[in-house]
Amino acid sequence: MQVPAPFEYQRVSTVTEAVTLLDRLGDTARLVAGGHSLIPMMKLRLTNFEYLIDINELHDELGYIRSEPGPDGAPGRIRIGAMTRHRELLESDELAAAFPIFRDAERVIADPVVRNRGTLGGSLCQSDPSEDLSAVCTTLDASCVIQGLDGQRVVSMDEFHQGPYETAVGDAEILTEVRFPVRPRGSSAYEKVERRAGDWAVVSAGAGVWLDESGLVEDARVGLAAVGPNTAGIPGIADALRGQRPTEELYARAGDIAAESCSPVTDRRGSAEYKRHLARELTVRVLRRAVARATGQEV
């Protein structure tokens, strides 16, 4: 039987209550949202805390997907509350219209029952290098809003991820929101190779592509999961694609950069060589699909 070591269960119903309690309890406490990463880790005794603070009641406050227009009707941004559950991300038509990568990814994250519980904030804070939403957020150049007692700060995904299972969120802080800039003439896509339905990725890749008015690549971002200690983006791909006409040759070049830039390890999910092959092939596929979507050839 797998059970966590003893801890004291606490429940909070507002963000202020959460940070106040965290401030008092320090690193002996941990927040639990959906719990589908943290509770299994506690059951395996990989981690334990004296206090577990249940923030599921914050869903009322932090469960949302809000679209904000920019000044003068220009594209603005989408703000997603940290307690928004996978199922809500999957089912949001508004989100799928702005960023189809979310629906692509959510379809293959865990399974429908787990998606009823797991949250965006919990996924990011778990900071597992194989976790899909981190790759999605990296691809979309998201920023994370972190709330403490003295106010909030906003960090980029690169700053947020400090290493496997480590984030920029301090002991007395909570991730409250993730923000995504919306830019014109762009689209996105995600692909994952897994051994069986609902599994962790062997390798996943996300791409976001934005075109200029003449159809050249204005910006492109690729985020990979499960090929190294971090779900980092690959800046070299953006550099290689900017200003170019999107073609199969260009996607192939980006795939080569992805394969060279990642650092997969051989494990039960596959050899490093196979994962490198996947990084190349999936990068090509997601760039191709993102461009097809951006130019209206595919939904």
């Binding site: 801890f7 589908h36 059951k43 029952v113 009823n116």
Partner: protein
């Protein structure tokens, strides 16, 4: 700590440890052993119960987290001595062999039909994709859920185990939803 929740419509209060998992609370504290305890790693889905209407894996939810909420287990499917159409579907279409995965499969099926009274085979397969039948009886499980859907829509006209009820639905007739509860 003390926890109070509603289980199958009845309010229950128990003294528990914070680390107690919902599956063990149901089985060991309430003796509701219909909810099975399988892989312990949120993979197999035999422990699925409904928490405020939504199917969840009760091996990965703390009992304390369910405090103040509504839980429904497989024992709550039967109403007034009448088996739920999902339960009858599993009987009619041989939806179980060893029966170990059955409680979780039926709870997910009930939630699916409450939100979508006429799911396609593909939608049924997607809904149960987080659950494992080690007898590999998936085809009959899908058929059982379809049987229940047809039964509730009043469109089941032939014996089970033959053809898809969807194909038997008379043209132009809309299936009638007769669902209870909600999957929010």
């Amino acid at each position: 700590m003390q926890v109070t929740m509603t289980v199958n419509g009845e309010e229950v209060t128990r003294e528990i440890e914070g680390r107690l998992l919902l599956v063990h609370f149901l089985r060991d504290h309430l003796q509701l052993t219909g909810t099975h305890w399988g892989c312990d790693t949120s993979n197999c889905g035999t422990c699925v119960v409904r928490l405020d209407g939504e199917p969840v894996k009760s091996c990965t939810v703390l009992a304390a987290m369910a405090g103040g909420h509504e839980v429904r287990t497989v024992e709550g499917l039967e109403q007034n001595g009448e088996l739920d159409p999902v339960q009858r579907g599993f009987i009619e279409c041989h939806g179980l062999q060893c029966g170990f995965c059955t409680p979780g499969m039926m709870m997910t099926a009930r939630a699916l039909l409450d939100s979508d009274p006429d799911p396609s085979d593909e939608e049924i397969r997607e809904a149960i994709s987080g659950q494992i039948c080690r007898c590999t009886g998936y085809a009959t499980i899908v058929r059982s859920i379809r049987w229940a859907a047809a039964e509730e829509a009043g469109t089941r006209t032939t014996a089970p185990d033959t053809e898809a009820p969807a194909a038997e639905q008379p043209a132009g007739e809309e299936p009638v939803a007769t669902t209870t509860g909600s999957a929010s």
